[in-house]
Amino acid sequence: MDDLMKSRMAQLEDYIMKNCLWQFHSRSWDRKVQNEGILSKTMQILCGEPVANETPIDKCHWVDAVVLAEEFQSRCPWLAGMDKADVKTLMNALHERMDYLTIDGSLNLELTDQHY
C-alpha cells in the first residue's frame, strides 16, 4: 500500500475510532461479527452495490454502515474520485486494520471471556 493510500486509510480509521461505538463490543467474536458486518456493508454502499438487510441483525449493521458511508463521503471528498477497485482495496485494508486494533492486537484481557 502506498503512502497516499495509507494516509487515506488513517483518516477513515480516525473517524471510526473517534465517533463510532460498534467496533467495541465486549468479546472477540462479537467484534469480528461487527467489523465484518458493518465494514463490508459500508464498502458495498460506497461502491453502489446492493446490500443485504433482511434479518434484524443485518439491518442493524446496515444502519451503522449507511451513516458511516455518508460521513466518509462528506469528510473525504477524494472518495468520489476513486474507482470501485481502489475503494475495495482501501476498505479491505481498513477492515484488516480495525480487526488488528480491536481484536488481534488488542490489549483488552476480557475479550476472550467465555460468557457475557
Binding site: 462479537d30 434484524p56 439491518k59 449507511v66 451513516v67
Partner: protein, 522 residues
C-alpha cells in the same frame, strides 16, 4: 507501553500499569491500562461495591417498585438527594427507601423471618405498589439467608405481588460494575419473558437500555422517540416500570446508551430472542443526531428523525456556540465512573471547544478505556481506579480549569480550588438532548467563571486582600479576551430555556402515525 507512574504511588508498584499517557502515534495496541481488577491493597480506591452497583445504579431507578435491602440500614444510605434518577410517578423510588435493619443478633440467629416480616409490612404500607426487589448485602449473604425461598413464601401469601431477588452482595465483584453484571443477568433469567406487553401502540418498538433518567434524561429522549412514532416498550431502568421490563423480549430493537452497565442484557436479548443491539450516544448535537437517524433508518422513517434534528439544531445551536466561544481551550479532567468518559471525550472537545487532558474511570473495564482513549486527544492521561492522592497529583500536574467527576473526588478538587461538576447526578440537568447539552455547557461556564470561585483562591491567612476592587461578574471574567464581534454577537445567545424543562414534556400531545397493519386493513 507508555505507562505513567505517579510519585505518590511509587510505594505501590502494581499501580503503574493502571495509568497511561496517549502519546503521539500511540494506539490501543500500545496504550491501554489494566482495568476491572480487584483494588490493590494499600491504595484507597474511590469505587463502590457490587451491591451499590446492582441496587443504587441499576435496580432503584425502576419507579413502581419497593426496593428492599436485606442488611444493615447503612447499606441503603443512597436515596433522596444523593441520587437523582427521577421518575414521572412522583419519584416513589427516591422518596422511600426500605431496609431490614439487620443487627448482630440476626447474624447469629438468622434474618430470614425478619426479611419476610419487612416485606409484608412494606406491601401493606404501600398497597398500590405490587412489585418488589430484594437486594442481598454482605451481611445477609455471609450468613446464608435464602432470599429466593422467602420471596416465594411472600408471593404465595400475597398472590397479587411479584418479587425479584437480586443476589449481588457487596463483595461480589471488584467494584460496582460486578453488581451491574449480576443484576443484568438475574433480571433476564428471572423476569424477562414472564409477561406480555400491556399494549403495542406502534410498528416501531424499542427497549431503551442503559438509561437511568438522571435529572430527566430519559424523558428528554422519550420525547424524541414519541415525535418519531417509536414506542419505548421498556427503559432499563430509569423511569422504567417493572412489568414493562418483564416484557423486553417483544421489542424489535435494543437501543443501548450505557454499555458499561447494561450491555450484558442486550447481548443476552440478542442471543436468546434475536433482538439486535444498537449502541448510541445521547449526548452532543452531532452524535445524538446520528443516533436518532440510525434508529429511524432501522425502521424506515428517516424523515421523522431529520425533522427533529433540523428543528432542534436551529433552536439550540446559537446558544451552544455562545458557550463554546467562552469555553474554548479550557482544560478538563474527565473523571466520571464509567461510560461518560467515552460518551463525552470527543464531543465536548468538538462542540464546546474544551481540551480533555485526562480521562479516568472508577469502575470501567478495559473496553471503556479503549473507547475513551480512542476518543480523547493526544497527550491525555488515562487512569484506571485512581486513588485520592493520584487524583490530587494529576490535578497539580495538569492544572485543569474544571473536572467532571463524582461527589467524593469533587469535594477533594474544591479543596485545591479546582471547580467540579457532578458527572453522575449533574448540576442543572437534564444534559441529554439538544437543550440538555446547552444546559451542560451553561453549568461548565458557571463553574469556570464563578466570581465566588475566584475569591476562594485568595488565602486570607497569607494573601493580601484587595480592598480597592469591586465584585466582578461572570461576563467580566469570560469576555475579557473575546473579540468584539463575538462579545457583542447578535446571533449567539445565552441559554434561554426554562428552569424546569421537563414539565412541558409531561403534558405534551404527540402526533399519531398510521400503523402499517391498519393501513393495509383500511
Amino acid at each position: 507501553m507508555p505507562y505513567h507512574e505517579f510519585e505518590c504511588s511509587k510505594c505501590i508498584p502494581e499501580r503503574k500499569k493502571h495509568a497511561v499517557v496517549k502519546g503521539p502515534g500511540e494506539d490501543l495496541t500500545s496504550a491501554l491500562p489494566l482495568g476491572y481488577l480487584n483494588t490493590i491493597p494499600g491504595t484507597i480506591s474511590e469505587r463502590g461495591c457490587a451491591y451499590c452497583g446492582a441496587k443504587h445504579v441499576i435496580g432503584s431507578p425502576m419507579k413502581d417498585v419497593i426496593h428492599m435491602s436485606h442488611g444493615p440500614i447503612g447499606c441503603t444510605y443512597d436515596t433522596w438527594q444523593t441520587k437523582r434518577y427521577i421518575s414521572d410517578n412522583d419519584n416513589f423510588q427516591l422518596k422511600y427507601t426500605f431496609a431490614t435493619d439487620m443487627k448482630e443478633k440476626h447474624v447469629v440467629f438468622g434474618a430470614e423471618q425478619l426479611l419476610k416480616k419487612n416485606m409484608i409490612e412494606a406491601f401493606k404500607a404501600f398497597p398500590n405498589i405490587k412489585r418488589m426487589t430484594v437486594y442481598q448485602t454482605c451481611a445477609s449473604a455471609l450468613i446464608g439467608d435464602d432470599l429466593n425461598a422467602i420471596a416465594q413464601e411472600v408471593m404465595d401469601e400475597l398472590p397479587d405481588v411479584d418479587v425479584f431477588v437480586c443476589n449481588s452482595p457487596g463483595f461480589a465483584g471488584p467494584s460496582q460494575s460486578g453488581g451491574h453484571h449480576k443484576i443484568n443477568i438475574a433480571w433476564i433469567n428471572q423476569k424477562v419473558g414472564t409477561v406480555e406487553p400491556k399494549e403495542i401502540t406502534s410498528d416501531y418498538v424499542i427497549n431503551y437500555v442503559g438509561e437511568y433518567n438522571i435529572q430527566g434524561d430519559q424523558e428528554v429522549m422519550q420525547d424524541f422517540f414519541k415525535r418519531m412514532g417509536v414506542q419505548i416498550l421498556s427503559t432499563f431502568t430509569g423511569n422504567g416500570s417493572y412489568d414493562d421490563l418483564r416484557a423486553m423480549h417483544r421489542a424489535h430493537l435494543n437501543v443501548l446508551e450505557c454499555a458499561r452497565s447494561a450491555e450484558y442484557i442486550c447481548n443476552e436479548l440478542r442471543v436468546r430472542y434475536g433482538i439486535p443491539r444498537l449502541d448510541i450516544d445521547g449526548f452532543g448535537f452531532e452524535p445524538l443526531g446520528n443516533s436518532l437517524r440510525k434508529i429511524a433508518l432501522f425502521f424506515g422513517i428517516e424523515e421523522r428523525a431529520q425533522a427533529i434534528i433540523d428543528e432542534e439544531t436551529a433552536r439550540w445551536k446559537p446558544e451552544l456556540d455562545w458557550y463554546k466561544a467562552r469555553l474554548t481551550g479550557k482544560k478538563v479532567c474527565l473523571w466520571p465512573g464509567g461510560s461518560k468518559l467515552w460518551h463525552w471525550a470527543h464531543v465536548i472537545h468538538e462542540e464546546m471547544g474544551v481540551d480533555v487532558v485526562s480521562v479516568y474511570t472508577k469502575f470501567g473495564h478495559q473496553g471503556d478505556m479503549e473507547k475513551g482513549i480512542s476518543r480523547c486527544e493526544e497527550g491525555a492521561l488515562a487512569i484506571d481506579d485512581p486513588n485520592e492522592l493520584e487524583g490530587l497529583e494529576a490535578m497539580e500536574t495538569l492544572k485543569p480549569d474544571i473536572i467532571f467527576t463524582g461527589k467524593r473526588p469533587g469535594e477533594v478538587a474544591k479543596k485545591i480550588r479546582v471547580p467540579y461538576l457532578n458527572a453522575h447526578g449533574y448540576h442543572n440537568g437534564p444534559w441529554k438532548g439538544w437543550e440538555g447539552w446547552v444546559r451542560f455547557a451553561r453549568d461548565i461556564y458557571n463553574a469556570i467563571y464563578s466570581p465566588l470561585h475566584e475569591l476562594s483562591k485568595l488565602d486570607i491567612s497569607k494573601d493580601e486582600i484587595p480592598g480597592d476592587k469591586g465584585f466582578v461578574t461572570q461576563r467580566m471574567l469570560s469576555d475579557a479576551n473575546l473579540p468584539e464581534e463575538v462579545r457583542n454577537s447578535t446571533t449567539l445567545r445565552e441559554y434561554t430555556g426554562k428552569f424546569d424543562c421537563l414539565e412541558a414534556l409531561r403534558h405534551k400531545t404527540y402526533p399519531t402515525f398510521e400503523r402499517k397493519a391498519a393501513a393495509v386493513a383500511g
